[in-house]
């Protein structure tokens, strides 16, 4: 009984009042109720702005952002935020992770910004070291997926922020089935299995250890050809000043197929190590 990842993910707080992704340097102090109501009243509005916006990206990659009005951009960001949070959930699935929750509350906000900037640098360097992508000009007829930065606060068991984290993500919602990806299913352990193992470990006094994979997704290879925009703030240009895009070599957070790719990678390693897969709960 493999449970689809979304099913077991704990509900995470997507903060309503934060654009988060691109214009985090000037944030509005008041909650942005206007947009929320707007979306709630008329779902077709989301279609009209949010998803059309997505089409825009695909058609006019270069003009993205400039063409949309402030309101549209806002709504787009909201969609981004929701989707991105979802992608992030898939990756961490930890209730301790709360996106941007008390972003305005900290008095030492400049310190937080500084931390974020450092985290961003570190993330960029990690990707460079990892060889996550190669810079190429976008081939004719190929599409480019937009990308962004996502900020999260890592909290400890008491809910205190221990680390500010930034991730470079691909906006996977603009991927098209059959073109950019095929299968996205990845099994995870069901909660029953986890409890069963804990109970047995307690009864029989077994060893019980915990390990965590650091930045799991970019450690798995990507088979499909996927192009994403370069990270904002770290753009590079070709020798003649032409625009370059990233052709992904490894899975990136946010892509639809990343979870599956990661599972395939680690599952393959487990099998190589001599482990068997449970037939009842293949995780």
């Amino acid at each position: 009984m493999g449970v689809h990842q979304e099913g077991e993910v704990p509900p995470t707080n997507t903060s309503e009042d934060d654009d988060g992704i691109e214009n985090r340097s000037h944030q509005d102090e008041q909650p942005d109720d206007r947009d929320v109501d707007h979306v709630r009243e008329d779902p077709s509005q989301v279609e009209a702005t949010g998803w059309k916006g997505t089409d825009n990206i695909i058609q006019n990659v270069n003009n993205m952002g400039r063409m949309r009005s402030r309101t549209k951009a806002r709504e787009h960001h909201r969609l981004d935020n929701a989707l991105v949070t979802m992608g992030d959930d898939l990756a961490f699935a930890a209730a301790s992770e709360v996106v941007n929750e008390d972003h305005h509350l900290t008095e030492d906000e400049s310190e937080a910004l500084e931390e974020r900037r450092k985290a961003k640098d570190a993330e960029y360097q990690d990707h460079m070291k990892n060889g996550t992508w190669e810079l190429t000009p976008l081939p004719k007829g190929e599409r480019c997926i937009s990308s962004g930065w996502v900020e999260t606060d890592k909290r400890d068991q008491n809910g205190i922020i221990v680390r500010r984290n930034v991730r470079f993500i691909a906006k996977g919602y603009s991927q098209e089935y059959g073109y950019d990806y095929l299968n996205t299913y990845a099994p995870v352990a069901s909660i029953t299995t986890i409890r069963l193992i804990l109970a047995i470990a307690c009864i029989l006094d077994l060893e019980l250890d915990n390990m965590d994979v650091e930045t799991a997704y970019p450690q798995s290879d990507l088979e499909e050809k996927v192009y994403v925009k370069q990270p904002i703030g770290y753009e590079q240009y070709g020798p003649n000043g032409e625009e370059l895009v990233c052709q992904l070599r490894k899975s990136l957070y946010g892509l639809k197929q990343s979870g599956r790719n990661w599972h395939k990678t680690i599952d393959g390693w487990f099998r190589g190590y001599g482990l068997h897969c449970s037939s009842a709960d293949p995780c």
């Binding site: 709360v98 804990l198 109970a199 250890d209 390990m211 965590d212 994979v213 799991a216 390693w269």
Partner: protein, 297 residues
């Protein structure tokens, strides 16, 4: 999982990027922990004390393990502005009914609250499982009454934020899986459906360790309490098969049949004895599943 030459076993539970490594041999666990960083960049968190929002406290000498979601519950309370609410002793009071009023619109805040509660109910809190499932039936049309009921669950959690599951064991003997099934006959006042409930425990000597539970509204209307109990016995039987299979995979095959405790005599009789009676002849075929599995024990 991996089996060693002399009865050692290593079990890895993978939850995306979280690994629970368990086994009866320290060497095998250490070998694994040395091998995996060669391929992936890993962080060793040593003893398992925190996974998926559950805090795990363990006392190995006394064989006690306590699992709770205190931090998660505090986060939920703060998120819905109930951090300083007055605690109550019961998670629900009375029965929620549907409100057929025109002005009620889907309320996403209510959905978020129920979703947050549902995670607690699924992971460590069987005590609120029924309350949360009855809130969940009204997700699309939530009125003030439902909000009050949902906040009542929060207030109950406020008073009981530290409780969770407790696993205990002794040094000798093996464990057996025991199930309990019950039903709330026609408890829903709107559509008169019944609610199934079951719980599974691993019994080890006098220690009872709850490993799985569920409260779920049945998907058909039934005509007698025996019938509703039969349906919940059916759900329990399905889960039994699953848990037994997981146990087989882990190398703890259950030797005898698994007992499911059932308090309805008519239901027990029906699942033992295939006699069609004029009051039971309408019962859907699939609930005779229990009878078939009962025979094959």
């Amino acid at each position: 999982m991996k089996f060693g030459s002399s009865g050692e076993v290593l079990v890895i539970v993978l939850y995306v990027d979280d690994l629970i490594i368990t086994g009866n041999s320290r060497d095998m666990v250490n070998d694994f922990k040395l091998a995996i960083p060669r391929k992936f960049s890993m962080k060793d968190l040593r003893e398992l004390d925190w996974i998926l929002g559950m805090a795990i406290k363990r006392n190995r000498e006394k064989r006690i393990m306590e699992i709770s979601q205190t931090a998660y519950i505090d986060t939920v309370l703060a998120k819905f502005g109930m951090a300083d609410c007055a605690p109550v002793l019961k998670p629900m009071e009375g029965i929620l009914t549907k409100m057929n009023r025109e002005d009620i619109k889907p309320d996403s805040e209510y959905m978020k609250l129920v979703g947050s509660l549902l995670y607690a109910a699924l992971v460590t809190r069987p005590d609120i499982a029924f309350a949360v499932q009855s809130l969940g039936k009204h997700l699309h049309l939530a009125s003030t009454e439902h909000w009050i009921a949902a906040k009542r669950v929060l207030r109950y959690l406020k008073g009981t934020r530290e409780i969770g599951l407790k696993y205990t064991g002794t040094t000798t003997g093996s464990f057996t899986l025991v199930g309990y099934a019950d039903a709330d006959y026609a408890g829903d006042k709107d559509n008169r459906r019944s609610t199934s409930g079951y719980a599974f425990t691993l019994r080890h000597g006098d220690n009872i360790n709850t490993v799985d539970w569920r409260a779920k509204q049945q998907d058909v209307v039934v005509l007698s309490s025996a019938e509703s109990e039969l349906i919940s016995a059916c759900s329990a039987t399905q889960t039994t098969i699953y848990i037994r299979q997981v146990l087989v995979d882990l190398g703890f095959k259950q030797d005898g049949p698994t007992m499911i405790m059932e308090d309805n005599q008519a239901c027990i009789a029906m699942s033992n004895n295939p006699i069609t009676h004029k009051r039971t002849k309408h019962i859907d075929v699939r609930y005779h599943f229990v009878r078939e599995k009962n025979k094959s024990k």
